[in-house]
Symmetry: C2
Subunit: 209 residues, 2 copies
């Protein structure tokens, strides 16, 4: 074919084609909750379960974003807003790529979560609220942050000196105090299957044996 | 298990586990070249071929980044530098997620490309230089940009009024004038296979029939 025409052959893979071939639809699974509510634990357990089933799944969290894509941002209100904007955009790109992306951020503001939902598209965004009492989170205090915040070493700490706006209409609410991680993963997987993001386990990937 | 221990169960999926389960290793395939050199055409053709083979592949280009993750950036030197930093970081995240991400950007500076390579890790970065004479690119002028630049409507246009630093040691050099798109895709696929990013076609995905 004439090389001068190469620019005419553009054509993105459609969302449906991608889903058919990869065996799952891309989605943003957005975990929100206080520090210590179990977001990271659930995120990594869910990722492990999904990848074990041959699905492309990936966790976005402070560890891989604050040191990279958002390394130039601090914790001022404007920087926090820009941070959640970039996280939302990155998550939306992953979902567009067909990845089941699990975003684990405190994301205390309703507006930020709504912005992330809008970026991904409401049909591929699942908001999961980890509903755990502050007292329980503070008792767990896995990173010692509550202790530091109580000692005045951290300002604007969500739940103590900064607000956490409880989600008004999350797609799922999970209590990680009453349920173990595996059960919580089951609930999310079930939601993904019912939502058409995952094929039910009895269906094959559609490829010949 | 006691819920107070849930934070101890963190564990990211290792790169090797992910590759074994998904059937490919994540990589950044970085296409660089003048406007009109065929980056987008090659990128989308490569994506289509990879997804058709059930691989998670995805194109990052100006279309999905300049309007989203980098929407706040203009074209000043500082903004261009920040743009390539974010693109490099986003691409590295995708590769870490096990995706074969195809980045299609003019990326005229050696330093920017080296930065992107460092972000992804040199062992999962493949630099592909689309080596097409300026005159050919200008004749193709798929977006009418050369014409606008010649008319003085675009300043700092790479190849005309802004430099393009030819890659000194690209992993692949492709001539999209002498070869059609399909042949160029073949060359990249072959490189991915030889590099251990894709299993050779005679190998199965490792899942039972």
């Amino acid at each position: 074919m004439p090389s001068s025409n190469v620019t005419r052959q553009l054509g993105q893979v459609s969302r449906q084609e991608r889903a058919d071939l990869l065996g799952h639809r891309g989605a943003v699974i957005w975990l929100t909750g206080l520090s210590g509510s179990g977001k990271s634990t659930l995120a990594y357990a869910l990722e492990r379960r999904l990848v074990a089933a041959h699905h492309a799944a990936y966790v976005l969290d402070g560890d891989n974003l604050r040191h990279g894509l958002c390394a130039d941002l601090g914790f001022s209100p404007a920087d926090r807003e820009e941070n959640i904007r970039r996280v939302g955009r990155a998550a939306a790109l992953f979902a567009d790529a067909g990845v089941l992306v699990i975003a684990a951020f405190i994301s205390p503001y309703q507006q930020g979560r709504e912005q992330a939902r809008a970026m991904a598209g409401p049909d591929q965004f699942i908001e999961v609220y980890l509903d755990v009492p502050l007292a329980v989170c503070e008792q767990r205090d896995p990173k010692g942050l509550y202790q530091k915040a109580r000692a005045g070493l951290i300002r604007d700490f969500t739940g103590l000196s900064a607000p956490y706006e409880i989600p008004t209409a999350p797609d799922l609410t999970l209590d990680t105090e009453a349920n173990d991680v595996s059960s919580c993963v089951d609930v999310v997987i079930d939601r993904l299957t019912r939502g058409g993001f995952l094929r039910s386990e009895t269906e094959s990937r559609g490829s010949p044996p």
